[in-house]
């Protein structure tokens, strides 16, 4: 029997504790403004990614949100994902974009962040679908203790307000403080954030490109500022915004043609040829076979008259009589009428005339 209810009755922390204490296995779905999944195996959190779900992969959202890869790398990942049935983690590993340790760290960070976000939610539904054994279809499982997860999440909840007070604006920049920190003392993420801070990037950008969670990045920066390693620079004139504004109104003229001049030239040539064809070409002239055909028709009529005479001993009185007797076909009679030819019999002289 599934466990379900409203978050107003049971919050995430209580649910997670319950599942962990009862060593349950299954899928915990949270339906809020942001759907989440927590996958458990015997009370241990093993993943927050449900491949059956149609919603966006949280790992991908996490990686995109914190600038882990550039646009080109994402295009490649999308390309590979579109043309294969590989999981994102498999693609990242096989394409050398991340190693296993990094993936593991990122996934745990993701789980942490999701727990942190989930604990802030008070409205929504939860639904736990238990499984008998290890939940199937989990790509890249890890083992994360729920208690530690919750402890960290609570800590973040407490300290988040302080961070917001210390760093209220995303336009805040930093500069070198009085103290200089040895880079060896920093983790890779710390080095990366320090570089960006010292480069004068605003807070918002540092967070978006920090390759770590927002809380961690802010926490680092706050800590460095408190230790005078960095110095806060409050946002002043927003020159960056004004320079960006100009670009928005740049009129983009892009031609889809390979070569616009050649295309125009080709259209002109075709148009000219067409004009020449219909206006400048000499007239077709009359039917070259008309006189020959007329001679044939005349001969057919004369031959028919001769056959009539052979049969009946006299010339026919009219062409219609030949048609009635069968020596001449009606179509020839019609053609003769169209040509305006006349058949006249001269009985006295026992001859006929035929023609126009």
């Amino acid at each position: 029997m599934a466990l379900e209810g409203q978050l107003t009755d049971f919050n995430l922390a209580e649910i997670l504790q319950l599942l962990a204490s009862q060593q349950k296995s299954g899928f915990l779905n949270l339906e809020t403004n942001r759907n989440m999944v927590f996958i458990f195996d015997k009370g241990v959190l093993i993943s927050t990614r449900d491949r059956r779900s149609r919603s966006r992969d949280p790992l991908e959202s996490f990686l995109r949100a914190y600038g882990f890869f550039n646009e080109q790398q994402w295009k490649h990942v999308e390309y590979v994902g579109k043309n294969s049935s590989l999981d994102l983690t498999e693609i990242l590993i096989s394409e050398g974009l991340m190693d296993e340790i990094e993936i593991d760290r990122v996934l745990k960070s993701l789980a942490q962040e999701m727990a942190h976000a989930g604990m802030k939610m008070h409205r929504g539904r939860y639904h736990f679908s238990p499984t008998k054994d290890t939940p199937p279809g989990v790509k890249w499982r890890y083992n994360l203790d729920v208690q530690a997860l919750l402890m960290e999440a609570v800590r973040r909840l407490d300290e988040e307000a302080l961070l917001k007070d210390y760093l209220p604006s995303q336009a805040i920049t930093f500069k070198q403080g009085s103290r200089v920190l040895d880079p060896d003392e920093l983790t890779e993420s710390g080095r990366h954030i320090m570089e960006m801070a010292l480069a004068g990037l605003p807070l918002g950008r540092i967070i978006r490109q920090g390759k770590t969670e927002s809380f961690i990045a802010r926490d680092m920066l706050k800590t460095w500022c408190e230790k005078d390693i960095l110095e806060l620079v409050q946002p002043g004139t927003d020159d960056e915004d004004s320079s960006n504004r100009g670009e928005r109104f740049k009129f983009k003229l892009k031609s889809g043609l390979r070569s616009l001049p050649m295309t125009i030239l080709a259209v002109l040539v075709i148009g000219t040829l067409g004009w020449l064809r219909w206006t400048a070409s000499p007239p077709a002239g009359g039917n070259p076979g008309e006189s020959l055909r007329r001679a044939q028709i005349r001969s057919e009529v004369v031959t028919a008259a001769r056959l009539y005479r052979y049969q009946k001993g006299e010339w026919p009185a009219s062409l219609s009589e030949m048609v009635r007797s069968g020596q001449l076909t009606p179509s020839v009679l019609i053609t003769v009428d169209d040509l305006g030819w006349q058949y006249t019999l001269n009985r006295k002289q026992d001859k006929f005339t035929f023609g126009s």
Binding site: Y79, I91, G285, Y310
Partner: protein, 682 residues
């Protein structure tokens, strides 16, 4: 006086007679009268005795061997054949055919052929009737005769050549149409790729499937005519096609060019034979028909204006035959003699002179003449036949029989018309042979230049081409251009399909990976992929996807036009068979009913606009339309339906015929040389 012994015995015999017939002696005996007249002659040598009756050599007719009095010559020579009876019987046969009376057809046709055995039109119409009625026995019997009649008669052959040329032009046009259409459908994807690459800026050269319609639409606006349209549309197809398909298209195109080329002597020489007012027709009539004042008048006019000796001889022979048939043997001989002065071995003139001699009663001269002719022209049976008639007249039966046998052995079969009079005034009919094949051929060649080129296709000039541009230029110039492009374009041997997925590629969009030519998509995959697994999976998936799409497309194309699917998959023979069936069906449906081998003059390519079904869309003779139940129409529709039924059933076979695509995985394609851009690969 000395009296010889034998006269003494004569006197004694007479004395005895006087004793025996004592009583009779009382009456007056005839011998007495004789005796009265002969008494004075007893003294004369009987060898020198004068005539016993008043006679003189002058009173005797001039005796030149076997002769008959001139007054006994026939006023007009008899004939074996009867052209008018033949024409009338043939007319009755055609009437019987129209009313579906096979017995009437057979009876009248036999009478027509008997009356005019060498008439090629009767022979061929009999063959066609046998073919239509599936009478194989008659067909095999008459076909050799028909062929022989055609070969022997330039006039009959001309009509056949005209009909054959028109039919071949249409049939070739239909086949060319279905072939080009099939190749276009088979190459549609490649055309879409190439045109998209040429016109649009797209590094991947995604195919724009409507672009290939651009070319035919633009061409139609120029109104190039049927053959002009096919010729221009064939240029890219010929350049891109490979192997047997290319040769087939080239052969069809060259055949079309040959058919529209106006300079063929055989074709040009055939035109005068379908002109009733031509000199060829006049000569034919003069040699075969009964005498006519109009014919004689016309011949004389033409002789008066002729400046060519050969032409004058032909006209003179024809005139001489007419005069002979009128009974004017002397005038006829004079004319024949004029011809023989310049052509001593002119066969009809030699026979004509001998015939006239025969009818004038000079048997031995005639016989001598025929014998000489038989030596000069040993392969002609007419001389032996005529000689036999002379021998029969002289009651030399064995000689006559021998001559008849010889005539038969030379293949001469005399006509036999029941309606003509074979004897007149005791004279049997002899044959006046018409002008020889060679003479008639020369007449045809002489007159051929008087007619405009391709006049026999004048009804279709707007449909086939674009006047005033000559048709052979409209067909030939694009052919030359296509051949030039083939020779100039050195990238022809470059691969045209992606070696992984099979979609079209070109020099601009292709990528080379491990020696394999890949399309933009597969090439990008190959470049991006850093692992073998992903590369293999992606390429395999793409290959399968494109392969399935190709199969689906090929089947659709094959159902749209029979044979097109086989062209797309390279099955030449199957494609050729299907296209041929379709083309034959179209020909029979639209044009097969328009040909009448028994017609005097008519041919479907030479009609006035008012005689056609529609002068623009269907310029075929309206009088020949048999209705939808006509055999040609039904057969054509049946063939077309058959071709489409085969196309519908072809699906599984076509799919099986598409080769399985292999996926290009790294380290599999090991080529020694990497094909460079534009370098021909093998």
């Amino acid at each position: 006086m000395k009296v010889s012994n034998h006269y003494l015995w004569l006197a004694l015999a007479i004395a005895c007679l006087g004793i025996v017939t004592g009583e009779a002696a009382a009456n007056s005996a005839p011998l007495d009268t004789l005796m009265e007249y002969g008494a004075e002659s007893e003294d004369l040598d009987p060898r020198y005795a004068g005539a016993e009756f008043d006679t003189s050599r002058k009173r005797l007719p001039e005796a030149q061997a076997t002769t008959i009095e001139k007054s006994r010559s026939p006023r007009m020579p008899p004939r074996l054949d009867d052209p008018m009876a033949g024409a009338y019987s043939f007319h009755l046969a055609r009437q019987a055919a129209l009313s579906d009376n096979p017995d009437g057809v057979k009876k009248n046709l036999e009478a027509a052929i008997a009356a005019s055995p060498g008439h090629p039109r009767y022979q061929w119409w009999q063959t066609v009737q046998a073919l239509k009625s599936m009478d194989s026995a008659t067909l095999f019997r008459v076909l050799p005769t028909s062929v022989r009649a055609l070969l022997n008669s330039p006039v009959g052959r001309g009509h056949f050549i005209v009909a054959w040329h028109q039919g071949a032009t249409l049939l070739n046009g239909f086949f060319w149409t279905v072939l080009v259409s099939g190749l276009y459908l088979a190459w549609w994807r490649k055309m879409a790729h190439d045109m998209g690459a040429t016109i649009l800026k797209d590094p991947k050269h995604q195919p724009r499937f409507l672009l290939p319609l651009l070319m035919p639409v633009i061409l139609i606006m120029f109104k190039p005519g049927w053959f002009g349209f096919l010729a221009i549309m064939s240029i890219p197809v010929l350049v891109h096609a490979r192997g047997k398909v290319r040769y087939l298209l080239l052969a069809t195109w060259v055949m079309a060019l040959a058919l529209v080329f106006p300079g063929w002597p055989v074709l040009r020489s055939a035109v005068p034979t379908i002109d009733p007012t031509s000199e060829v027709t006049l000569l034919d009539r003069a040699c075969t028909l009964p005498p006519s004042g109009g014919i004689i008048r016309e011949l004389k006019n033409r002789i008066a204006t002729s400046e060519d000796q050969d032409r004058t001889n032909r006209l003179t022979v024809a005139l001489a035959i007419q005069e002979a048939r009128r009974g004017k043997y002397q005038e006829s001989n004079r004319l024949f003699g004029k011809v023989l002065e310049t052509e001593p071995t002119n066969f009809p003139a030699m026979i004509g002179v001998a015939n006239n001699t025969y009818y004038r009663g000079r048997m031995d001269s005639a016989a001598k003449g025929y014998s000489e002719i038989a030596l000069v022209h040993p392969d002609r049976g007419e001389a032996s036949y005529n000689l036999a008639q002379v021998y029969f007249k002289k009651l030399f039966v064995p000689e006559a029989t021998e001559a008849m046998d010889k005539a038969r052995s030379l293949g001469f079969i005399p006509a036999f018309s029941t309606k003509s009079s074979h004897r007149r005034k005791g004279y049997a009919a002899v044959v006046y042979p018409p002008l020889t094949n060679q003479a008639m051929n020369e007449a045809c060649s002489y007159e051929a230049q008087n007619y405009p080129p391709m006049v026999i296709l004048s009804s279709w000039r707007h449909q086939l081409g674009s006047p005033p541009l000559p048709l052979y230029i409209l067909v030939g110039a694009p052919l030359l251009l296509a051949l030039f492009l083939i020779m100039w374009w050195n990238k022809q041997n470059d691969p045209t399909e992606c070696e992984n997925c099979g979609i079209p590629l070109c020099h601009d969009c292709c990528k080379v990976h491990d020696g394999a030519w890949l399309c933009a998509g597969c090439g990008e995959t190959a470049e991006r992929s850093r692992s073998d697994m992903v590369l293999g999976t992606l390429l395999k998936n793409r290959s399968r996807e494109q392969g399935m799409a190709l199969g689906h497309r090929v089947i659709q194309v094959g159902r749209l036009l029979p044979g097109a699917g086989h062209l797309a998959t390279g099955h030449f023979r199957a494609a050729f068979i299907r296209l041929s069936i379709l083309a034959a069906g179209l020909f029979l449906l639209f044009a097969g009913w328009a040909f009448d081998m028994g017609s005097d003059w008519s041919s479907p390519g030479l009609m006035l606009p008012g005689e056609t079904l529609h002068p623009m869309w269907l310029p075929m003779p309206a009088a020949m339309w048999p209705g939808w139940s006509g055999s040609s129409v039904l057969l054509g529709a049946g063939l077309i339906a058959l071709s489409w039924i085969i196309a519908l059933l072809d699906g599984p076979g076509l799919r099986r015929g598409i080769p399985d695509r292999y996926s290009l995985t790294p380290n599999t394609a090991s080529r020694e040389t990497l094909p460079g851009a534009g370098i021909a690969t093998r």
